[in-house]
């Protein structure tokens, strides 16, 4: 099953890259010129994201360096002990929505320390794989089009992160017990 998916994923991109221009050429679209025309927008779009991304990365990076993150974790830890959930995975719940690279590094570290087939390793893998970095997605998508009032978008994203985090823990504890 996994084999099938990795093969499929490996072929998907080249298939798309060939199919789109080929189909367009049949429809008499000047493919190369159209490509250049569309690609022009890419630079500006990526550059537009810089202010928002710098703002967010500064705040998150300061938060981690100051020790505030550890303080926040310490506050939630007793609750986890109470539910006999391995507290080692707790930082992921806070890191995951904030920084993709940070939480991936943390997951890799947990896997290295406790082993990929330990309960902790499995929970960490599941958490890391099951949601995306909410703050990054919000910053990039809304930053690119100049949206400043994000309404309830962040709340929805964080809520689904929390649900996904708890679901990952419970599912792993049930399946891999």
């Amino acid at each position: 099953m996994f084999e099938l998916f990795t093969r499929l994923s490996a072929w998907l991109i080249p298939a798309i890259i060939v199919f789109i221009p080929l189909y367009a050429a049949f429809r008499k679209v000047p493919v190369y010129e159209t490509f250049i025309e569309g690609a022009k927008d890419g630079f500006g779009t990526a550059i537009n994201i810089i202010p928002a991304l710098v703002g967010m990365m500064v705040a998150i990076s300061m938060f981690r360096a100051s020790g505030a993150m550890d303080l926040m974790l310490g506050a939630v830890r007793p609750l986890f002990d109470l539910l006999s959930i391995p507290t080692e995975v707790l930082p992921l719940g806070i890191l995951r929505p904030l920084t993709g690279a940070g939480s991936l590094a943390f997951t890799a570290d947990l896997i290295a320390t406790h082993g990929p087939d330990s309960l902790i390793g499995r929970i960490a893998s599941t958490i890391q794989g099951s949601t995306d970095t909410t703050l990054y997605v919000l910053t990039v998508y809304f930053g690119a089009i100049g949206i400043r009032k994000t309404k309830y978008a962040l709340k929805v994203g964080l809520f689904s992160d929390l649900v996904g985090f708890l679901a990952a823990i419970l599912i792993c504890m049930y399946i891999f017990k």
Binding site: I13, G38, A46, G67, L104, A108, G121, T126, G129, L154
Partner: protein, 230 residues
């Protein structure tokens, strides 16, 4: 809300950093963070340029319209305020399918392009529309069939069965996405104009919404000339 979170992070960092005697580290972290923000954006340039070029071909060939027309009723129901034949729908579909197959670097440009198309339907260029919030919700919880990066890491550390987390991840991601859709529906209904009015988003609605803190209301900056859609 973003305003408050951002302010919270910065203020708390400096205060806690001062108490912990890590104020130098906090300063350093601020500039390191700024640098990585720029690095990430620069990394996006090549990907954006390539995929936006590709997608323009797809758009001009009418493929996105076709994709949008083939939309499952479910996706149509998720975006009731976007005309079914609008190019935004095609980009939304491309974005969601790229996510599904774990093609992260294709998903982001298509998601941004979808946002730009949705922005064309937006009466107030600085406030997110419900459709934008829904698209964001789907992306933050991102349904992925195979978490390839993690399987690679697990392989690296000698797991007996690296792919055993596919099932648990899929279950967790479905639950997270379900929660995101439910929460999105709930907020959308709460901030919707009263029934009997037109289904189009009213211009006043986003400003009146009591959800945002007052700070954000004053954050409107003067806009540049007309075509703000990037």
């Amino acid at each position: 809300m973003v305003n408050w979170i951002w302010l919270f992070f910065i203020v708390v960092s400096v205060v806690v950093g001062a108490i912990n005697g890590r104020i130098d580290a906090v300063t350093q972290a601020a500039f390191d963070g700024a640098k990585s923000g720029v690095t990430i954006s620069f990394g996006l340039i090549s990907i954006m340029v390539f995929w936006l070029g590709m997608m323009r071909i797809a758009e001009d060939a009418g493929m996105l319209k076709k994709l949008a027309r083939m939309l499952s009723p479910v996706v149509k129901r998720l975006f009731p305020d976007v005309p079914p034949n609008h190019p935004a729908m095609g980009y939304i579909m491309s974005n969601l399918s790229a996510n599904l197959f774990g093609l992260g670097n294709a998903a982001t440009p298509m998601g941004i392009k979808a946002m730009q198309e949705l922005q064309k339907l937006n009466p107030d260029q600085t406030t997110a529309t419900p459709a934008m919030c829904t698209l964001l919700a789907l992306n933050t919880s991102s349904i992925t069939l195979v978490p390839t990066t993690l399987i690679a890491i697990r392989m690296n550390y000698g797991s007996a069965n690296p792919a055993e987390i596919v099932g648990t991840t899929l279950a967790a991601t479905f639950i997270a996405t379900g929660a995101a859709i439910a929460a999105d529906r709930w907020y959308r209904r709460r901030s919707a104009p009263p029934p009997g009015k037109t289904t189009r988003i009213s211009k006043q609605m986003p400003i009146k919404s009591s959800i945002d803190p007052p700070v954000s209301a004053s954050a409107t900056l003067p806009r540049g000339g007309g075509g703000e859609v990037v």
